[in-house]
Assembly symmetry: C2
Homo-oligomer: 358 residues x 2
Amino acid sequence: MSHKKLWIPGPTEPDKDVLLQQAKWLIGHRAPEYTKLYESVIGQLKEFFQTKQNVATITSSGTIWMDIIARNFVKKKALAGVCGAFSKRMYQTIQACDKDVDLLDVEWGKAIKPEAVMEALSKDDYDTVAIVHNETSTGVRNPIADIGKAIKAEYPHIIFAVDAVSSAGGDYIVPEEMNTDLLFTSTQKCFALPPGLSIACYSDAAVQRAEEVTNRGYYTDLLAHHKDWEKRHQNPTTPNISLLYALDYQLGRMLKEGPRARYERHAEMAKITQEWANKHFAMFPEKGYESITVSTIANTKELDVPALNKELAKAGHMIANGYGAALKNKTFRIGHMGEHTPYDVKALLHVIEEIWEL
Amino acid sequence: MSHKKLWIPGPTEPDKDVLLQQAKWLIGHRAPEYTKLYESVIGQLKEFFQTKQNVATITSSGTIWMDIIARNFVKKKALAGVCGAFSKRMYQTIQACDKDVDLLDVEWGKAIKPEAVMEALSKDDYDTVAIVHNETSTGVRNPIADIGKAIKAEYPHIIFAVDAVSSAGGDYIVPEEMNTDLLFTSTQKCFALPPGLSIACYSDAAVQRAEEVTNRGYYTDLLAHHKDWEKRHQNPTTPNISLLYALDYQLGRMLKEGPRARYERHAEMAKITQEWANKHFAMFPEKGYESITVSTIANTKELDVPALNKELAKAGHMIANGYGAALKNKTFRIGHMGEHTPYDVKALLHVIEEIWEL
């Protein structure tokens, strides 16, 4: 069987109809037909996120938004919460953009709590806070809404930037309810599309901040993207039209399901996986902070994860090993996101039970 | 007729088989099957460009390489040749990255000559030269090989960076023969694929220079991309797998035709278009420096270009108006690149003759 169903935490499994949207004939990206497509995409994104914030897409991986955060928002100093490999990349990217940044470090597997953020913020004069919502390496879901509320109550001038790459489109996210000034994601996770586009919701305060910061570059300049939307409802550079066709189509499906129902389906898949993990192994994340889109399971039985994946491949499935040297083989991950269903999850877990004789 | 065949200078018209490659099931971007795909892509790109330089793709528009040039190569000062809208963007991007840059400005429609570059270089201490090969707005083809030879003879330490967005894959380009340290393009022009990926050939000297420059960021850090290839033949962030399938497939077709034959086909399409333009109108570029991938034609009869496109749409075609306020309606452009043939060009020109009663 050549096709392996992807249970890795991205890219996840798109529907074949969605993939086929990418085979449509191209259109000119300065033509009215493109403007119509892009308006439909942005309109549907706003509807799905129930937001009045600005929404943009960029032809890039989600990661480019780490550069954008550093280059557009950090004036004097940023605070970066680190609880795993991807939030660490955010910290390192801010450094790589020559901006001053302090580290708020928590043990991997633990969540970043509002109290820890507020304590860190009391120590210096910060203008930007960057935190990951769903840390894809540890499977931890940080309490972003509580953190956002606490920050804005005391430091309303701070730009609160959130990496929601592996949660948005699956977990329930309304930017205004989380007090985020920037929330970014990409297409290959809970949106269940191929990789190649990033998506962000950003506040007017984020735009104002960018206007005060120099050395933003061009491709990483939030204002270049923002102004092109304002001016002509297009993009400053040639966008990935094929993937925008697919995103437009998939958003129609997502809105038909609805953001709340989509969240509940993901929560149900997480519950099934967590119960199974707690029966046979243990969950890696701190209790109460488990991601609902990717479960990181502690490999307490020290079973052979690569060997499992080899057997799973024969049954047409693929899960993920732990991320990086620290978590490989000590954990394994199941990405239950996008188009997967509770029924599919049970079937997968059953196959794993058979292979590992659990 | 809903599908308009694209004769704009990008996106151009991909073959349906190539578009359909994008509908294939996804694979994990850290899995051996992805490594195999990416090795095939990079290997075929090296073969097509007949180069021993390094080759990278990034999930982005081609424009990101303007940021990369500024952030990775410019230590003290750059010289940017400007002869149209896209080369102007290069100049502005280097400025937007807070780097010192001098402008070598030539009249739009004229080419940047080696003598002008050498004269400019004699006036200050430059470490980077950025010039466009094929200026998509004016349809001018700059003599990059002569410029590269002149620069390297006198200033071997200078990093020579070339925007070949609308020429590479159609015009005949071997980086070593042009003495380029960086040559970048994107998929939606002469490669005849959807937009969404950029492609670059870069020298070891380019890598060395980047190692000497700080504040490169992460997504715009040439070394991040370079090191991931060196380490595991993959990418630092999730790449556009669907488009890489299509690129891999299309490179097979391009190699079957061969870079020389592909060049000759483009040269033949340019010849047909130029002869037609000179009979009915006039070519906009300086004689001898006309692009072979996009013809910018001076609208000497002051005919109505938008009205032409409206009529062309009924026949299933679309050409491009002049670029920007300065050239709109004063010129119009025909992008004869990618998969178009001399036969197709003749047919298109015949339709235009009928509509405009030439």
